[in-house]
Amino acid sequence: MPAAESEISLPPPPTSATAPPRLSHLRLLEAESIHILREVASEFERPVMLYSIGKDSSVMLRLAQKAFYPGPIPFPLLHVDTGFKFAEMLTFRDAMARSAGAELLVWRNEGAIAAGTNPIVLDTKRCCGLLKTQALLDALRHYNFDAAFGGARRDEEKSRAKERIYSFRDSAGQWDPKNQRPELWNLYNARIHPGESIRVFPLSNWTEMDVWQYIHEEKIPVVDLYFAKERLMYVRGDALLPIEQAFVARPGEQPQLVKSRLRSLGCSPCTGAIRSDADTIPAIIAELLSFRSSERANRTIDHDQEGSMEIKKREGYF
């Protein structure tokens, strides 16, 4: 029976004498992610970890080191290189893979890159389709991977909020959002027919804030582009466009030095920087608290049409 209204009160806070140490949310998230990594490594024949060089990948890589310690990471890392990644990212990628003792595979859609595919000539949708989605599907097929870890989180975007931890993909790598396998407790259905595969998202329940706090607590290295520095930028309206390859300046545009950083890492033509003074991780976290825009607001590709992330995912994107 419900208590009478006057009796409803909050339970007293636990006192230190009775309360055993509580696990913080980060330890709980870590334990869940490690469980997922170990399940996949044990149940699939050829898993691979998509390593995109960003902060989420860095956290995922550290979790993989933890999951199999003192053994090595029992699967390779795969980077899908569009040819438009910032130079700093590639240097960082190679160093990270080396220090983690993991095998690194790099895949590029050389045909499309040689044909001059870029987001200025094509639209972003078709560019992503060729350089990311197609390249990814080709790589998975080439190596015959049956499970691929990705660092996507459910808090990033609303179609991702509906994504399973084990996301089933048919033999064409496509996602069917209306026909997802139910996912109960921590019991993941790893059964697939030949040619089908599973995308696995060990960071599903992490938020952007959790990721940064974990990087801070665990002292995980991240690419320098995340930290504010004086950088040469084209200023176009509210947008700060970094100078890298394939950038086409409009008449009269001059690059200028702006104290800025990247909030999420993508391809240089489609990733805007933000004005920022945050040059340490605590400063980034403090800045995050003050943000009124979501992390992917500066990623052109999420906004090219209504429900565009869902459409990309259906086609095989992460």
Partner: protein, 574 residues
Amino acid sequence: MAALTTPSFSIDEFLQQEREKDLLRFSTAGSVDDGKSTLIGRLLYDTQSVYEDQVRSIQGKGTTAPGQIDFALLTDGLRAEREQGITIDVAYRYFSTARRKFIIADTPGHEQYTRNMVTGASTADAAVVLIDASKGVLLQSRRHAYIASLLRVRHVLVAVNKMDLIGYDQAAFRAIERDFSLLLEQIAADTGSPVESIFVPVSALAGDNIVHRSKAMLWYSGPSLLELLEALPSSLDTRAEPFRFPVQRVLRPDHSFRGFAGQIASGTVRPGDRVTVLPSGRSAEVSRIVTYDGDLAEAYAPLSVTLVLNRELDISRGDLIVLADAPATVAKSVKAALVWMDRRPLELHRRYLLKHTSQTAPAFLSSIEHRTNIGTFSHEPAETLEMNGIGVVTLNLLRPIALDLYGENRGTGAFILIDAETNSTAAAGMITTASSYETEGSHIHAGAWGPVTAGERAARWGHRGGVLELSGPTELIDAIERSLFAAGAISNRIEADDDAFLLHPSLLEIVTEMQIQSGLLALVVHENDSGTLMARAEDRQLTLDANDPLKAVSAVHQLLHSTGILIFFEKADL
């Protein structure tokens, strides 16, 4: 988060405070019209967990009055959902207060999405059940409360919503509180799992008692919904319960190290503890608890760790390590509550795989005890469960597993059933009864010498070698062969009218005999156009109406059972 604007904000203090935050998972259920999305949107918006660009992207769209934000658009992530104005699938949402991080499993409320509701409740510590005050207790609220109880979600917060529509009337709130409390008692009696309920009068639209206490209902002096969520104990805390550690993986980087990696399902472990490995029953002592961050002096649920034992035991993925003085049950037959999740209805004799902790075992459903009608809580006899159906069944496994009852341990009492042919997740299961299985002398030793015996084959395949003679129409014979295949039988079809056999009459006998020796189920078939099917196994013969194929297939299965060719479980250990 508003603290940032104050000059006294210190990032170090903030990070320290964050380090102490724990996590609470809760589920909600409902559809747009009962205000669920508004309630969630309100929680997210009022705790500043929504970014401006996300609000901007939905402003001016939707069905609410001009100037208001249609929160449903914020939460319904799929195009089909936005187009149809309904929630189809579970969505997970995240927000945080100064005390706690929250994960919401946001689920649809309609009956055809019961399975999604169950999915959301399976990981929840608490459930927020919505009741529309202007409509009273509807089936949807009953269903959600029933599922919360069935899935052993201990805390149910009943949000009586739309109080603004009934003039914030206290008497109406009390009447709903009284009715629903009675209902919760009925539910607990059926599921055997009591729920602790707290009722809160709210208006999600106006923001009354969601985050802040309402000034419109001074007759209610209790906490707001968010305050309650902040204060609930987390059910993740199982440190005082028996230690359970399903082995996920054996880590063996070199000859000097052999550790067992897993996530602690419940309880606490320390070096020096005496543990037993199930189902083998062998014991050892924990010598180290290894993590990347150094060895631990103590570890508890739900940490992921690696255990090193003081002596070499044959342990593999799927084994359960328990404290020696708190053993789990080892069983091959269990009774369980099932929620059917697949479009393809439950079929007795079909081959399913049961995934429980870190192991997967072939399983057969031997009987359906009853189906539960969630509208009336009555138990109905049933021959199958359709998608979203809930019932109690008996399951037999081809090998014993170590388990607990779901009522005692969510981690070691839950399982899923996977359809072995289509691979779809067919059901969610909660073990309600398990009888201990005597392991002595019944093991097939993996290290045994000599040729594989008939008994070992039978134990793996679920049947011994035998002959099933069938004569009748081709389609029906095909259906029988297929049904045996689906059940996992290793069968071989022999066309008895083949020329080779007609020329050499003794050849058929030789071939059949060899197949029996190999443990195969030999189907010796004569195809014809008659309206009856003749089936013979051992010394028993049936004549069946070929125009009722379902009945004929079932009768043939019965025949194989009654002659002892299909053994499946009970007699599998010869």
